[in-house]
Structures are given as structure tokens and as C-alpha cells.
Subunit: 205 residues, 2 copies
DNA sequence: TAGATTGTTAATCGATTAACAATC
DNA sequence: TAGATTGTTAATCGATTAACAATC
């Protein structure tokens, strides 16, 4: 156990552990070891044990980790033992696909509002949610105390939209626009850019 | 300049540099410095210089880097100074959104084939491309010598589909299924899982 | 008990940063 | 020339791995 600040690189692996554990749980498995988990996800057993031990002694010598218990611990650490409201800004192809995506269930998130600037899209219903105009976004975010947003607008307006989100109180942004977003340091950003990910692999081809 | 093996973490930053440089180029800027670039993308100037210098001496003391020249160098290093064929397997919401995504242009990629197992989807046309059945996928991949695939099928079948892709000769996989994919070590995989990215941020909320 | 596996230490390995001579 | 900025070295910092005592 370690009360110091946990390195972000470790935090980044916890959701991967959690995802693998939930998969094992679905199959009905009760117990796993750092070795087995490591083989599942391509991470060394020593690293998994070291990462987990930052937060407490969750395993048992000889038998390993209780899967339901470790899931519960990781969910609590990651604060996904509850359901967070998420909004999506930008109803282009990616945003539309995300609005209809059903992969957030039981992972701690729920899409609650959709926004776009295009008058043709505003008022449409996607996955039972109405698309709102961005002009009323700040107010709606504040009113609902939304902390998490997905940005899927064109690159040209992504920073402007981000500034509005930050001003409205959003603290975590998942960015699909192919541009780096500048935010205050108390706001988290994760970048998802398919082209960037592909370019990282072509080097090895 | 360094003929040794370049660390993957450096390779992973090159596409980010490239994206920022292309953005500067679009604005007509001719020259930049490690300092300016670093401020744009939140990376230290020293690290940018060190990363770039792994591949040669591309800058000039006193003036910095020629943007068109550095773009050309990075594109060549990353092998995106050409257009790669990319196929998408799985025409659910995410796959459908990716098929219609127009963000691959001028970044080295072109979606050429779409696949799905659902008889209702096979035969449909998305973005001028016909959706093919997965049953004929291996043959089509081999025939067209496709090296890059995007996997956006449900988690339950993602590994099976991946095995087929690998057998057909695919060497780079962008995985949207929320599951770790096992592949031979000469095959690259990048994972994109929105829920995992979001969970990494909720820790800090 | 015997076997297995954790949590943790120490050693190794790798990445980042600071600083500055070289030079445009 | 004077100012600016690179490429690179050395120092620092951080992450990973190997190994094993503790113990279930």
C-alpha cells in the first residue's frame, strides 16, 4: 500500500485489468492469478502484482485474487462503481456512431445528451436522445452537473467547443477530433484518432 | 542519427508531430521550432528534438525546422508517403461510422472493403462501398494484399475474426472491440476502447 | 504438509530533462 | 556579427523485472 501519488501510467492499466477481470467473471470464473491475467492481456505478472499492490493487499498467497472482490476494488479506485453522465458534442459519423454505441453499459457510463450545430441535425432523435443545439449547451451542462464529454466535432471548432465545455465545468474530455486540445491542468483529456493509431503501426510494415 | 532499434514510445509520438506539422502547413507556416511545436502539443522541446534526431539532422541551428521538409521526412519514416488500403470488419455503429469517416484522406489511408456477417447488412452500400460477407474475406484480403484492418465486431467474435485476418496476411489491426487481441509478434495491434479511455479519467474526478 | 502465489525489495533497464557547444 | 535553435551528452528521473521471503 502506498499513499503517495500513483503514476498515471499505472492508472492507465487499471481499466485494462478491470476489463479482463469482467470478462473472466462473465464466464463464471471466481479466482485468477497475476500470471493468468498477464497472459490474457500481454502484461508481465510482476507488473500486475506491483500495480495492484499500490492500492492495498487484494490477493492471497497461494490462491491469487478473488475476481469479484478485485473487480469491486478496481471499480471503486477508478470511481466507476457508479454511473457517470456523458454528453457527446458533434453528431457527425463518429459522434452518431458513439451515440448509438451500446458498449458503455456496465462500465460506468451513460450517454445523456447530444449536441450539434447543424440545424438539420438539431431536433433529430438518436437512440432515444434528442439532439440539442450547441448554443444552449453550457447551461444544460451546468444544470445537470455533467463532468464528462466526448468531443467529435471537426478539428476546426474542437478547441472552441472544448473551451466552452471547460467553462461549463466539464473535467474529463474524450477527444475524437484530430487535433491536440489545450485545457487547464485540472481537466483530463484522452485523444482517440484512428489515423494516428494507424500511422503508429505502418512504421513496422 | 541512430541506426539502432528505435523505441516504440518514440514511434508513437511521430504521428502526433506529423499531425501538428500538417496543421501548421495548412495555415501556410513554413518553419517551426521544437519549442513552438512542443507548446502546441504539450511535449517538451528537448524531447521533440531528441525524438527527431533519432532519424537524422532535419533542423537548422538558429532557424528550426522546415515544415514541408519535416513533414516529408516523417511521412517517409512512418511509411505514410503512400496510400494504404484498409478494410473494416464489423458494420455495427462504430464500424458504420468509421466507414463513412472522411478523416483518413491525406493521412495515408483509404478504406477499400467492408465486411459483416449479418445477412441484412451484406449487400448494403455504405459510402460507395458494398458490404461483403465475412465468409469470403480471407480470399479478398489475399487477392488485394491488404495489410491493415479495423476490427469493430462484438467482443465475442473479435479474436476469431482476428485469427482469420492474421491468416490472410494482415499485419496491422486497429481494434475497437473491448477485448485484448492475441496476435503473433509480427502483427501490430492498437486498441481503441472509449470506455477504457473514460475510466482512465474518472480516477481523477 | 506441500505447492502455489502474493507483496515487496533491489537491481536493471529505459526515458526524460537540463545544459551547452556547435552553427546557421 | 548577434541571436536563436539545433543535436547531443550527461545527469536525473521513473518504470520494469527478477527474485524471494512470507504465507495462504
Amino acid at each position: 500500500m502506498n499513499a503517495d501519488k500513483i503514476p498515471d501510467i499505472i492508472i492507465g492499466r487499471l481499466p485494462i485489468y478491470l476489463r479482463a477481470l469482467q470478462r473472466l467473471a462473465e464466464k463464471g470464473t471466481q479466482t485468477t492469478s497475476s500470471q493468468e491475467l498477464g497472459e490474457m492481456i500481454g502484461i508481465s505478472a510482476a507488473q500486475i502484482r506491483k500495480d495492484i499492490s499500490q492500492f492495498g493487499e487484494f490477493g492471497k498467497q497461494g490462491t491469487g485474487y478473488s475476481i469479484p472482490f478485485l473487480i469491486e476494488r478496481l471499480q471503486t479506485i477508478l470511481k466507476v462503481n457508479r454511473v457517470w453522465d456523458v454528453i457527446i458534442v458533434g453528431m457527425g459519423d463518429i459522434g452518431h456512431g458513439l451515440a448509438r454505441y451500446n458498449g458503455f453499459g456496465n462500465r460506468g457510463f451513460q450517454v445523456t445528451m447530444l449536441f450539434d450545430n447543424d440545424p438539420d441535425k438539431v431536433g433529430q432523435t438518436i437512440n432515444d436522445l434528442e439532439v440539442f443545439s450547441i448554443s444552449g449547451m453550457t447551461e444544460k451542462i451546468k444544470h445537470n452537473k455533467v463532468k464528462i464529454a466526448i468531443v467529435s466535432v471537426p478539428a476546426a471548432v474542437a478547441q472552441t467547443v472544448t473551451d466552452q465545455l471547460v467553462k461549463a465545468g466539464v473535467k474529463a474530455i474524450l477527444n475524437y477530433a484530430p487535433i491536440h486540445l489545450n485545457v487547464p491542468k485540472d481537466v483530463q483529456v484522452q485523444h482517440i484518432d484512428p489515423a494516428t493509431h494507424l500511422q503508429r503501426m505502418t512504421y513496422y510494415l
